[in-house]
Protein backbone atom coordinates (compact mmCIF):
# COMPACT_ATOMS: atom_id res chain seq x y z
CA UNK A 1 0.00 0.00 0.00
CA UNK A 2 2.83 2.31 0.91
CA UNK A 3 4.39 1.44 -2.43
CA UNK A 4 1.26 2.45 -4.31
CA UNK A 5 1.11 5.77 -2.56
CA UNK A 6 4.81 6.34 -3.05
CA UNK A 7 4.70 5.51 -6.74
CA UNK A 8 1.49 7.17 -7.70
CA UNK A 9 1.09 9.95 -5.23
CA UNK A 10 4.18 11.17 -3.40
CA UNK A 11 6.58 10.79 -6.30
CA UNK A 12 4.23 12.50 -8.77
CA UNK A 13 3.85 15.41 -6.38
CA UNK A 14 7.61 15.75 -6.21
CA UNK A 15 7.74 15.73 -9.99
CA UNK A 16 5.13 18.46 -10.15
CA UNK A 17 7.21 20.69 -7.90
CA UNK A 18 10.38 19.84 -9.83
CA UNK A 19 8.94 20.39 -13.28
CA UNK A 20 7.36 23.66 -12.20
CA UNK A 21 10.89 25.08 -12.18
CA UNK A 22 11.79 23.78 -15.60
CA UNK A 23 12.03 25.70 -18.80
CA UNK A 24 9.91 24.88 -21.81
CA UNK A 25 9.34 25.73 -25.44
CA UNK A 26 6.54 25.01 -27.89
CA UNK A 27 6.73 21.25 -27.87
CA UNK A 28 8.84 19.97 -25.01
CA UNK A 29 10.12 20.69 -21.55
CA UNK A 30 13.76 21.44 -20.90
CA UNK A 31 15.31 20.38 -17.59
CA UNK A 32 16.94 23.68 -16.67
CA UNK A 33 16.19 25.72 -13.60
CA UNK A 34 14.02 28.75 -14.16
CA UNK A 35 11.05 30.43 -12.56
CA UNK A 36 9.53 31.19 -15.93
CA UNK A 37 6.51 28.97 -15.27
CA UNK A 38 5.67 31.19 -12.31
CA UNK A 39 6.43 34.63 -13.57
CA UNK A 40 4.77 34.18 -16.93
CA UNK A 41 1.56 33.28 -15.16
CA UNK A 42 1.64 36.55 -13.35
CA UNK A 43 3.06 38.69 -16.08
CA UNK A 44 1.98 42.29 -15.78
CA UNK A 45 0.33 41.74 -12.43
CA UNK A 46 2.58 44.12 -10.54
CA UNK A 47 2.33 46.96 -12.99
CA UNK A 48 -1.43 46.75 -13.11
CA UNK A 49 -1.90 46.98 -9.35
CA UNK A 50 -4.16 47.93 -7.66
CA UNK A 51 -6.34 46.41 -10.36
CA UNK A 52 -6.32 42.64 -10.49
CA UNK A 53 -4.76 40.96 -13.50
CA UNK A 54 -6.49 38.00 -15.14
CA UNK A 55 -4.58 35.39 -13.20
CA UNK A 56 -5.17 36.91 -9.78
CA UNK A 57 -8.77 37.64 -10.62
CA UNK A 58 -9.24 34.00 -11.53
CA UNK A 59 -7.85 32.82 -8.23
CA UNK A 60 -10.00 35.30 -6.33
CA UNK A 61 -13.02 34.08 -8.26
CA UNK A 62 -12.22 30.47 -7.49
CA UNK A 63 -12.00 31.23 -3.79
CA UNK A 64 -15.29 33.10 -3.96
CA UNK A 65 -16.96 30.20 -5.73
CA UNK A 66 -15.52 27.92 -3.12
CA UNK A 67 -17.04 29.94 -0.29
CA UNK A 68 -20.49 30.07 -1.86
CA UNK A 69 -20.52 26.35 -2.48
CA UNK A 70 -19.20 25.72 1.01
CA UNK A 71 -21.97 27.80 2.59
CA UNK A 72 -24.72 25.96 0.75
CA UNK A 73 -23.29 22.47 1.20
CA UNK A 74 -22.87 23.24 4.90
CA UNK A 75 -26.41 24.49 5.40
CA UNK A 76 -27.99 21.65 3.46
CA UNK A 77 -25.60 19.02 4.76
CA UNK A 78 -26.07 20.03 8.37
CA UNK A 79 -29.85 20.07 8.14
CA UNK A 80 -30.00 16.69 6.43
CA UNK A 81 -27.56 15.13 8.88
CA UNK A 82 -29.49 16.64 11.80
CA UNK A 83 -32.71 15.14 10.53
CA UNK A 84 -31.13 11.72 10.01
CA UNK A 85 -29.36 11.68 13.34
CA UNK A 86 -31.96 13.07 15.70
CA UNK A 87 -35.35 12.76 14.11
CA UNK A 88 -35.26 9.36 12.47
CA UNK A 89 -35.74 6.95 15.28
CA UNK A 90 -35.54 3.42 13.99
CA UNK A 91 -32.17 2.06 13.01
CA UNK A 92 -33.51 0.49 9.83
CA UNK A 93 -34.96 3.74 8.59
CA UNK A 94 -31.77 5.54 9.42
CA UNK A 95 -29.74 3.10 7.33
CA UNK A 96 -32.24 3.16 4.49
CA UNK A 97 -32.36 6.95 4.32
CA UNK A 98 -28.58 7.30 4.57
CA UNK A 99 -28.27 4.83 1.72
CA UNK A 100 -30.68 6.94 -0.27
CA UNK A 101 -28.27 9.85 0.13
CA UNK A 102 -25.23 7.72 -0.66
CA UNK A 103 -26.36 5.96 -3.82
CA UNK A 104 -25.91 9.00 -6.12
CA UNK A 105 -22.33 9.23 -4.86
CA UNK A 106 -21.70 5.84 -6.44
CA UNK A 107 -22.95 6.96 -9.82
CA UNK A 108 -21.22 9.06 -12.39
CA UNK A 109 -20.61 12.73 -11.70
CA UNK A 110 -20.66 13.65 -15.37
CA UNK A 111 -24.10 12.21 -15.78
CA UNK A 112 -25.36 14.06 -12.77
CA UNK A 113 -24.04 17.22 -14.40
CA UNK A 114 -25.54 16.52 -17.80
CA UNK A 115 -28.81 15.83 -16.06
CA UNK A 116 -29.22 19.52 -15.38
CA UNK A 117 -29.18 20.40 -19.07
CA UNK A 118 -32.75 19.37 -19.90
CA UNK A 119 -33.92 21.23 -16.83
CA UNK A 120 -32.00 24.47 -17.15
CA UNK A 121 -31.51 24.83 -20.88
CA UNK A 122 -33.10 27.55 -22.96
CA UNK A 123 -36.02 25.26 -23.77
CA UNK A 124 -35.65 23.39 -20.52
CA UNK A 125 -38.27 22.57 -17.95
CA UNK A 126 -37.61 25.55 -15.72
CA UNK A 127 -37.78 28.08 -18.52
CA UNK A 128 -40.85 26.64 -20.21
CA UNK A 129 -42.51 26.32 -16.83
CA UNK A 130 -41.85 29.93 -15.97
CA UNK A 131 -43.05 31.11 -19.35
CA UNK A 132 -46.21 29.04 -19.17
CA UNK A 133 -46.97 30.56 -15.82
CA UNK A 134 -46.48 33.97 -17.34
CA UNK A 135 -43.73 34.93 -14.91
CA UNK A 136 -41.22 35.56 -17.65
CA UNK A 137 -41.69 36.04 -21.36
CA UNK A 138 -38.25 35.15 -22.60
CA UNK A 139 -36.06 32.23 -21.61
CA UNK A 140 -33.71 33.13 -18.79
CA UNK A 141 -30.21 32.86 -20.22
CA UNK A 142 -28.21 32.69 -17.02
CA UNK A 143 -29.67 29.39 -15.88
CA UNK A 144 -27.26 27.21 -17.80
CA UNK A 145 -23.59 27.71 -18.66
CA UNK A 146 -23.13 30.34 -16.00
CA UNK A 147 -21.74 30.68 -12.53
CA UNK A 148 -25.17 29.94 -11.23
CA UNK A 149 -25.28 26.53 -12.88
CA UNK A 150 -21.75 25.79 -11.69
CA UNK A 151 -22.67 26.51 -8.08
CA UNK A 152 -25.85 24.50 -8.41
CA UNK A 153 -24.06 21.48 -9.83
CA UNK A 154 -21.24 21.64 -7.28
CA UNK A 155 -23.70 21.81 -4.39
CA UNK A 156 -25.65 18.99 -5.97
CA UNK A 157 -22.59 16.79 -6.34
CA UNK A 158 -20.72 17.40 -3.13
CA UNK A 159 -23.21 17.96 -0.32
CA UNK A 160 -22.67 14.28 0.36
CA UNK A 161 -19.15 15.01 1.59
CA UNK A 162 -20.65 17.30 4.22
CA UNK A 163 -23.43 14.98 5.32
CA UNK A 164 -21.28 11.96 6.12
CA UNK A 165 -18.77 13.50 8.57
CA UNK A 166 -21.39 15.65 10.26
CA UNK A 167 -23.74 12.71 10.60
CA UNK A 168 -20.88 10.65 11.98
CA UNK A 169 -20.08 13.13 14.72
CA UNK A 170 -23.76 13.64 15.52
CA UNK A 171 -24.19 9.93 16.09
CA UNK A 172 -21.46 10.04 18.70
CA UNK A 173 -23.18 12.68 20.78
CA UNK A 174 -24.40 11.17 24.01
CA UNK A 175 -28.20 11.38 23.88
CA UNK A 176 -28.29 11.90 27.65
CA UNK A 177 -26.76 15.33 27.10
CA UNK A 178 -29.78 16.34 25.07
CA UNK A 179 -32.13 15.04 27.71
CA UNK A 180 -30.23 16.93 30.34
CA UNK A 181 -30.50 20.10 28.31
CA UNK A 182 -34.21 19.53 27.87
CA UNK A 183 -34.69 18.90 31.58
CA UNK A 184 -32.74 22.03 32.36
CA UNK A 185 -35.27 23.94 30.30
CA UNK A 186 -33.29 24.63 27.14
CA UNK A 187 -35.28 25.37 24.02
CA UNK A 188 -34.63 23.46 20.82
CA UNK A 189 -32.52 26.27 19.41
CA UNK A 190 -30.47 26.59 22.59
CA UNK A 191 -29.74 22.87 22.53
CA UNK A 192 -28.75 23.11 18.89
CA UNK A 193 -26.49 26.11 19.39
CA UNK A 194 -24.89 25.25 22.71
CA UNK A 195 -24.61 21.48 22.53
CA UNK A 196 -25.00 19.99 19.10
CA UNK A 197 -23.00 22.46 17.02
CA UNK A 198 -19.96 22.54 19.32
CA UNK A 199 -19.91 18.74 19.49
CA UNK A 200 -20.25 18.48 15.72
CA UNK A 201 -17.32 20.75 15.07
CA UNK A 202 -14.96 17.96 14.02
CA UNK A 203 -17.45 16.67 11.49
CA UNK A 204 -18.08 20.14 10.16
CA UNK A 205 -14.37 20.78 9.74
CA UNK A 206 -13.72 17.48 7.98
CA UNK A 207 -16.65 18.04 5.65
CA UNK A 208 -15.44 21.56 4.93
CA UNK A 209 -11.97 20.31 4.06
CA UNK A 210 -13.45 17.87 1.57
CA UNK A 211 -15.72 20.37 -0.08
CA UNK A 212 -13.15 23.14 -0.25
CA UNK A 213 -10.38 20.99 -1.69
CA UNK A 214 -12.69 19.46 -4.26
CA UNK A 215 -14.06 22.80 -5.41
CA UNK A 216 -10.63 24.44 -5.49
CA UNK A 217 -9.24 21.81 -7.81
CA UNK A 218 -12.33 21.19 -9.85
CA UNK A 219 -12.20 21.78 -13.57
CA UNK A 220 -14.68 19.27 -14.90
CA UNK A 221 -17.85 20.57 -13.32
CA UNK A 222 -16.75 24.10 -14.05
CA UNK A 223 -15.98 23.10 -17.62
CA UNK A 224 -19.19 21.22 -18.32
CA UNK A 225 -21.59 23.47 -16.45
CA UNK A 226 -19.85 26.65 -17.48
CA UNK A 227 -19.90 25.67 -21.14
CA UNK A 228 -16.06 25.77 -21.09
CA UNK A 229 -16.32 29.55 -20.78
CA UNK A 230 -15.79 30.20 -17.10
CA UNK A 231 -12.24 30.34 -15.77
CA UNK A 232 -11.09 28.85 -12.47
CA UNK A 233 -7.88 27.66 -10.86
CA UNK A 234 -8.26 24.04 -11.97
CA UNK A 235 -9.23 25.16 -15.43
CA UNK A 236 -5.99 27.12 -15.83
CA UNK A 237 -4.01 23.96 -15.28
CA UNK A 238 -6.10 22.05 -17.78
CA UNK A 239 -5.72 24.74 -20.42
CA UNK A 240 -1.96 24.80 -19.97
CA UNK A 241 -1.85 21.04 -20.26
CA UNK A 242 -3.82 21.05 -23.47
CA UNK A 243 -1.23 23.48 -24.81
CA UNK A 244 1.44 21.00 -23.64
CA UNK A 245 3.01 23.66 -21.42
CA UNK A 246 3.83 21.22 -18.66
CA UNK A 247 6.06 23.44 -16.52
CA UNK A 248 3.51 26.24 -16.59
CA UNK A 249 0.77 23.79 -15.64
CA UNK A 250 2.96 22.44 -12.85
CA UNK A 251 3.64 25.94 -11.56
CA UNK A 252 -0.08 26.62 -11.36
CA UNK A 253 -0.57 23.25 -9.70
CA UNK A 254 1.97 24.19 -7.02
CA UNK A 255 0.19 27.48 -6.41
CA UNK A 256 -3.14 25.71 -6.17
CA UNK A 257 -1.62 23.17 -3.78
CA UNK A 258 -0.23 25.95 -1.62
CA UNK A 259 -3.58 27.72 -1.37
CA UNK A 260 -5.36 24.48 -0.57
CA UNK A 261 -2.89 23.56 2.14
CA UNK A 262 -3.15 27.01 3.61
CA UNK A 263 -6.89 26.59 3.98
CA UNK A 264 -6.52 23.10 5.39
CA UNK A 265 -3.95 24.08 8.00
CA UNK A 266 -6.22 26.90 9.05
CA UNK A 267 -9.09 24.48 9.48
CA UNK A 268 -6.81 21.89 11.05
CA UNK A 269 -6.06 24.30 13.87
CA UNK A 270 -9.63 23.76 14.94
CA UNK A 271 -9.61 20.00 15.14
CA UNK A 272 -7.35 16.96 15.23
CA UNK A 273 -8.45 14.78 12.34
CA UNK A 274 -6.78 11.59 13.41
CA UNK A 275 -8.59 11.56 16.74
CA UNK A 276 -11.96 11.66 15.06
CA UNK A 277 -11.87 8.47 13.04
Amino acid sequence: MMLVFALFFILPLCFVVMVSFWDYNEYQMIPRFTTRGYYESFEGCLTKLPELCTMLATYVKTVKLCLIVWLFTFLIGFTVAYFLAFHVRSKTWQIALSLLCTIPFWTSNVIRMIAWIPLLGRNGLVNTGLMDLGITHEPIEWLLYSEFSICLALVHLFTFFMIVPIFNSMMRIDRRLLEAAYDAGATGWQTLWNIIIPLCKPGIVIGSIFVITIVMGDFITIGVMGGQQVAAAGKIIETRLNALQFPAAAANAVILLAITFLIITMLNRLVDIRKEL
Binding site: M1, F9, I10, P12, T79, T107, I114, I117, G124, T260
Partner: protein
Amino acid sequence: MREGRPKSFYLLAAFFAAYVLFLYGPMFAIFVLSFQGPQGGLTFPMNGFSLHWFAKLFAGNGIVDIGAALRRSLALGLVVMLITVVLSVSAGMAFRKKFQGSSILFYAAIASLIVPSIVTSLGIALEFRIIDDLFKNYISSDWQTGMGLFTSGLGAHLTWTLPFGLLIMFAIFNRFDSRLEEAARDLGATPWQSFRFVVLPIILPSVIGIALFGFTLSWDELARSSQAIGSVNTLPLELQGLTTTVTNPDIYALGTVTTGVSFIVIGLCLGVILLLQRRQKKFGSDAGKGV
Protein backbone atom coordinates in the same frame (compact mmCIF):
# COMPACT_ATOMS: atom_id res chain seq x y z
CA MET B 1 -37.06 11.37 24.87
CA ARG B 2 -40.14 13.42 24.17
CA GLU B 3 -43.34 11.69 23.25
CA GLY B 4 -44.93 12.36 19.90
CA ARG B 5 -43.23 14.11 17.05
CA PRO B 6 -42.48 17.81 17.36
CA LYS B 7 -43.40 20.22 14.64
CA SER B 8 -39.77 20.55 13.63
CA PHE B 9 -39.80 16.89 12.61
CA TYR B 10 -42.23 17.54 9.80
CA LEU B 11 -40.35 20.62 8.67
CA LEU B 12 -37.08 18.71 8.57
CA ALA B 13 -38.71 15.72 6.92
CA ALA B 14 -39.99 18.02 4.20
CA PHE B 15 -36.51 19.48 3.82
CA PHE B 16 -35.06 16.01 3.56
CA ALA B 17 -37.59 15.01 0.95
CA ALA B 18 -36.75 18.14 -1.02
CA TYR B 19 -33.07 17.25 -0.82
CA VAL B 20 -33.70 13.73 -2.09
CA LEU B 21 -35.75 15.17 -4.93
CA PHE B 22 -32.89 17.56 -5.68
CA LEU B 23 -30.51 14.59 -5.71
CA TYR B 24 -32.54 12.28 -7.90
CA GLY B 25 -34.80 14.57 -9.90
CA PRO B 26 -32.35 15.59 -12.62
CA MET B 27 -31.17 12.02 -13.00
CA PHE B 28 -34.68 10.79 -13.64
CA ALA B 29 -35.11 13.52 -16.20
CA ILE B 30 -32.34 12.08 -18.35
CA PHE B 31 -33.51 8.50 -17.86
CA VAL B 32 -36.90 9.49 -19.18
CA LEU B 33 -35.45 11.56 -22.01
CA SER B 34 -33.18 8.76 -23.16
CA PHE B 35 -36.23 6.72 -24.12
CA GLN B 36 -37.73 9.21 -26.49
CA GLY B 37 -38.45 8.80 -30.16
CA PRO B 38 -36.06 9.32 -33.09
CA GLN B 39 -37.20 12.91 -33.54
CA GLY B 40 -36.55 13.82 -29.96
CA GLY B 41 -34.19 16.58 -28.98
CA LEU B 42 -32.22 17.37 -25.87
CA THR B 43 -35.10 18.68 -23.78
CA PHE B 44 -38.71 18.04 -22.89
CA PRO B 45 -41.33 17.46 -24.16
CA MET B 46 -40.92 13.86 -25.19
CA ASN B 47 -41.36 13.02 -28.85
CA GLY B 48 -42.70 9.53 -28.70
CA PHE B 49 -41.21 6.57 -26.95
CA SER B 50 -38.55 4.23 -28.33
CA LEU B 51 -35.26 2.50 -27.76
CA HIS B 52 -33.89 4.28 -30.81
CA TRP B 53 -31.05 6.05 -29.04
CA PHE B 54 -29.88 2.93 -27.26
CA ALA B 55 -29.83 1.07 -30.54
CA LYS B 56 -27.84 3.89 -32.09
CA LEU B 57 -25.45 3.85 -29.17
CA PHE B 58 -24.64 0.18 -29.53
CA ALA B 59 -24.56 0.26 -33.31
CA GLY B 60 -21.40 2.26 -32.74
CA ASN B 61 -21.75 4.49 -35.78
CA GLY B 62 -21.35 7.49 -33.56
CA ILE B 63 -18.31 9.54 -32.90
CA VAL B 64 -16.57 7.20 -30.55
CA ASP B 65 -16.39 3.49 -29.96
CA ILE B 66 -18.57 3.26 -26.88
CA GLY B 67 -18.44 -0.51 -26.59
CA ALA B 68 -14.66 -0.56 -26.31
CA ALA B 69 -14.65 2.24 -23.76
CA LEU B 70 -17.25 0.37 -21.75
CA ARG B 71 -15.18 -2.80 -21.72
CA ARG B 72 -12.04 -0.89 -20.75
CA SER B 73 -13.82 0.85 -17.90
CA LEU B 74 -15.27 -2.43 -16.70
CA ALA B 75 -11.92 -4.22 -16.76
CA LEU B 76 -10.13 -1.38 -15.01
CA GLY B 77 -12.90 -1.10 -12.44
CA LEU B 78 -12.67 -4.80 -11.57
CA VAL B 79 -8.88 -4.72 -11.21
CA VAL B 80 -9.05 -1.58 -9.08
CA MET B 81 -11.73 -3.20 -6.95
CA LEU B 82 -9.66 -6.32 -6.34
CA ILE B 83 -6.49 -4.45 -5.46
CA THR B 84 -8.37 -2.01 -3.25
CA VAL B 85 -9.97 -4.80 -1.26
CA VAL B 86 -6.76 -6.79 -0.76
CA LEU B 87 -4.61 -3.79 0.13
CA SER B 88 -7.22 -2.13 2.33
CA VAL B 89 -7.88 -5.25 4.36
CA SER B 90 -4.22 -6.01 4.88
CA ALA B 91 -3.45 -2.40 5.73
CA GLY B 92 -6.44 -2.31 8.05
CA MET B 93 -5.12 -5.38 9.87
CA ALA B 94 -1.66 -3.85 10.05
CA PHE B 95 -2.95 -0.59 11.51
CA ARG B 96 -4.39 -2.35 14.53
CA LYS B 97 -0.89 -2.47 15.91
CA LYS B 98 1.54 0.39 15.79
CA PHE B 99 4.14 -0.19 13.14
CA GLN B 100 6.94 1.82 11.73
CA GLY B 101 5.77 4.38 9.24
CA SER B 102 2.13 3.91 10.21
CA SER B 103 1.54 7.60 10.65
CA ILE B 104 3.33 8.41 7.39
CA LEU B 105 1.07 5.97 5.57
CA PHE B 106 -1.96 7.42 7.29
CA TYR B 107 -1.11 10.97 6.33
CA ALA B 108 -0.24 9.91 2.79
CA ALA B 109 -3.68 8.35 2.46
CA ILE B 110 -5.46 11.41 3.81
CA ALA B 111 -3.39 13.75 1.67
CA SER B 112 -4.06 11.62 -1.38
CA LEU B 113 -7.75 12.07 -0.71
CA ILE B 114 -7.67 15.83 -0.42
CA VAL B 115 -4.99 16.97 -2.83
CA PRO B 116 -6.88 18.27 -5.87
CA SER B 117 -7.28 15.47 -8.38
CA ILE B 118 -5.85 17.41 -11.26
CA VAL B 119 -2.59 17.89 -9.40
CA THR B 120 -2.24 14.16 -8.77
CA SER B 121 -3.16 13.46 -12.35
CA LEU B 122 -0.64 15.96 -13.68
CA GLY B 123 2.02 14.51 -11.41
CA ILE B 124 1.47 10.99 -12.66
CA ALA B 125 1.53 12.19 -16.25
CA LEU B 126 4.83 13.98 -15.65
CA GLU B 127 6.29 11.00 -13.84
CA PHE B 128 5.58 8.68 -16.75
CA ARG B 129 6.78 11.24 -19.26
CA ILE B 130 10.11 11.51 -17.49
CA ILE B 131 10.42 7.74 -17.16
CA ASP B 132 9.67 7.44 -20.87
CA ASP B 133 12.44 9.91 -21.65
CA LEU B 134 14.87 7.96 -19.52
CA PHE B 135 13.98 4.73 -21.27
CA LYS B 136 14.30 6.35 -24.67
CA ASN B 137 17.67 7.84 -23.91
CA TYR B 138 19.37 5.04 -22.03
CA ILE B 139 17.77 1.73 -22.79
CA SER B 140 16.16 1.49 -26.16
CA SER B 141 15.24 4.13 -28.63
CA ASP B 142 12.10 2.40 -29.82
CA TRP B 143 10.44 2.38 -26.41
CA GLN B 144 7.00 3.83 -26.88
CA THR B 145 5.45 4.74 -23.58
CA GLY B 146 4.83 3.23 -20.17
CA MET B 147 1.62 5.13 -19.83
CA GLY B 148 -1.54 3.16 -20.16
CA LEU B 149 -4.74 1.89 -18.69
CA PHE B 150 -3.14 -0.61 -16.33
CA THR B 151 -0.05 1.33 -15.37
CA SER B 152 -0.62 5.04 -14.91
CA GLY B 153 -4.41 4.75 -15.13
CA LEU B 154 -4.54 2.03 -12.52
CA GLY B 155 -2.26 3.99 -10.23
CA ALA B 156 -4.33 7.13 -10.56
CA HIS B 157 -7.47 5.27 -9.63
CA LEU B 158 -5.84 3.58 -6.67
CA THR B 159 -4.83 6.92 -5.15
CA TRP B 160 -8.53 7.68 -5.07
CA THR B 161 -10.01 4.33 -3.95
CA LEU B 162 -7.42 3.21 -1.39
CA PRO B 163 -7.99 6.08 1.09
CA PHE B 164 -11.70 5.27 1.13
CA GLY B 165 -10.95 1.59 1.69
CA LEU B 166 -8.56 2.42 4.49
CA LEU B 167 -11.01 4.74 6.23
CA ILE B 168 -13.71 2.07 6.08
CA MET B 169 -11.29 -0.45 7.60
CA PHE B 170 -10.57 2.00 10.42
CA ALA B 171 -14.25 2.36 11.08
CA ILE B 172 -14.64 -1.42 11.21
CA PHE B 173 -11.76 -2.13 13.53
CA ASN B 174 -12.73 0.67 15.87
CA ARG B 175 -15.80 -1.39 16.66
CA PHE B 176 -14.16 -4.79 16.45
CA ASP B 177 -14.07 -6.83 19.63
CA SER B 178 -10.53 -8.17 19.73
CA ARG B 179 -11.42 -10.58 22.51
CA LEU B 180 -12.84 -12.80 19.80
CA GLU B 181 -9.40 -13.19 18.32
CA GLU B 182 -7.87 -13.80 21.71
CA ALA B 183 -10.41 -16.53 22.27
CA ALA B 184 -9.48 -18.08 18.93
CA ARG B 185 -5.82 -17.93 19.85
CA ASP B 186 -6.47 -19.52 23.21
CA LEU B 187 -8.27 -22.33 21.47
CA GLY B 188 -5.13 -22.95 19.45
CA ALA B 189 -5.88 -21.25 16.15
CA THR B 190 -2.96 -20.20 14.00
CA PRO B 191 -2.93 -16.51 12.98
CA TRP B 192 -4.19 -17.48 9.55
CA GLN B 193 -6.97 -19.62 10.99
CA SER B 194 -8.12 -16.89 13.33
CA PHE B 195 -8.17 -14.47 10.41
CA ARG B 196 -9.93 -16.85 8.07
CA PHE B 197 -12.54 -18.24 10.45
CA VAL B 198 -13.03 -15.46 12.99
CA VAL B 199 -12.08 -12.04 11.68
CA LEU B 200 -12.99 -12.37 8.02
CA PRO B 201 -16.56 -13.61 8.49
CA ILE B 202 -17.25 -10.76 10.87
CA ILE B 203 -15.87 -8.02 8.65
CA LEU B 204 -17.05 -9.54 5.38
CA PRO B 205 -20.10 -7.28 4.88
CA SER B 206 -17.89 -4.22 5.24
CA VAL B 207 -15.32 -5.72 2.90
CA ILE B 208 -18.04 -6.00 0.29
CA GLY B 209 -18.70 -2.34 1.00
CA ILE B 210 -15.07 -1.56 0.21
CA ALA B 211 -15.38 -3.50 -3.02
CA LEU B 212 -18.44 -1.44 -3.86
CA PHE B 213 -16.54 1.78 -3.28
CA GLY B 214 -13.55 0.46 -5.22
CA PHE B 215 -15.53 -0.39 -8.29
CA THR B 216 -17.94 2.53 -8.42
CA LEU B 217 -15.31 5.15 -7.71
CA SER B 218 -13.13 3.78 -10.47
CA TRP B 219 -16.03 3.32 -12.87
CA ASP B 220 -16.97 6.98 -12.57
CA GLU B 221 -13.55 8.49 -12.01
CA LEU B 222 -12.74 11.37 -14.27
CA ALA B 223 -10.49 14.07 -12.89
CA ARG B 224 -7.57 11.80 -12.03
CA SER B 225 -7.84 9.83 -15.23
CA SER B 226 -7.91 12.89 -17.41
CA GLN B 227 -4.16 13.27 -17.79
CA ALA B 228 -2.96 9.87 -16.69
CA ILE B 229 -4.80 7.35 -18.77
CA GLY B 230 -2.63 7.33 -21.88
CA SER B 231 -3.97 7.15 -25.38
CA VAL B 232 -7.23 5.29 -24.75
CA ASN B 233 -10.23 6.67 -22.93
CA THR B 234 -12.47 5.29 -20.24
CA LEU B 235 -16.20 5.70 -20.37
CA PRO B 236 -16.51 8.83 -18.21
CA LEU B 237 -13.85 10.53 -20.32
CA GLU B 238 -15.73 9.73 -23.50
CA LEU B 239 -18.86 11.03 -21.89
CA GLN B 240 -17.24 14.26 -20.87
CA GLY B 241 -15.91 14.69 -24.38
CA LEU B 242 -19.40 14.19 -25.74
CA THR B 243 -20.91 16.95 -23.62
CA THR B 244 -19.30 19.61 -25.74
CA THR B 245 -19.95 18.15 -29.18
CA VAL B 246 -23.09 16.08 -29.17
CA THR B 247 -26.59 17.46 -29.47
CA ASN B 248 -28.49 14.18 -29.61
CA PRO B 249 -30.20 12.23 -26.89
CA ASP B 250 -27.70 9.42 -27.37
CA ILE B 251 -25.65 11.08 -24.67
CA TYR B 252 -28.61 10.54 -22.35
CA ALA B 253 -28.83 6.94 -23.46
CA LEU B 254 -25.16 6.51 -22.63
CA GLY B 255 -25.79 8.15 -19.27
CA THR B 256 -28.62 5.77 -18.58
CA VAL B 257 -26.46 2.77 -19.46
CA THR B 258 -23.59 3.93 -17.25
CA THR B 259 -25.86 4.63 -14.33
CA GLY B 260 -27.55 1.30 -14.96
CA VAL B 261 -24.23 -0.51 -14.50
CA SER B 262 -23.61 1.46 -11.30
CA PHE B 263 -27.03 0.51 -9.98
CA ILE B 264 -26.54 -3.16 -10.82
CA VAL B 265 -23.26 -3.20 -8.92
CA ILE B 266 -24.76 -1.31 -5.98
CA GLY B 267 -27.74 -3.64 -5.91
CA LEU B 268 -25.55 -6.75 -6.06
CA CYS B 269 -23.30 -5.54 -3.26
CA LEU B 270 -26.14 -4.46 -0.99
CA GLY B 271 -27.86 -7.77 -1.65
CA VAL B 272 -24.77 -9.74 -0.69
CA ILE B 273 -24.32 -7.60 2.43
CA LEU B 274 -27.90 -8.22 3.52
CA LEU B 275 -27.53 -11.94 2.86
CA LEU B 276 -24.34 -12.09 4.88
CA GLN B 277 -25.89 -10.22 7.77
CA ARG B 278 -28.84 -12.55 7.79
CA ARG B 279 -26.49 -15.51 7.84
CA GLN B 280 -24.54 -13.98 10.67
CA LYS B 281 -27.71 -13.58 12.67
CA LYS B 282 -28.73 -17.14 11.98
CA PHE B 283 -25.47 -18.95 12.55
CA GLY B 284 -23.41 -16.32 14.25
CA SER B 285 -23.82 -16.16 17.96
CA ASP B 286 -25.58 -18.32 20.46
CA ALA B 287 -24.89 -15.89 23.26
CA GLY B 288 -27.81 -15.28 25.53
CA LYS B 289 -29.82 -18.18 24.18
CA GLY B 290 -28.99 -20.36 27.12
CA VAL B 291 -27.37 -23.06 24.99
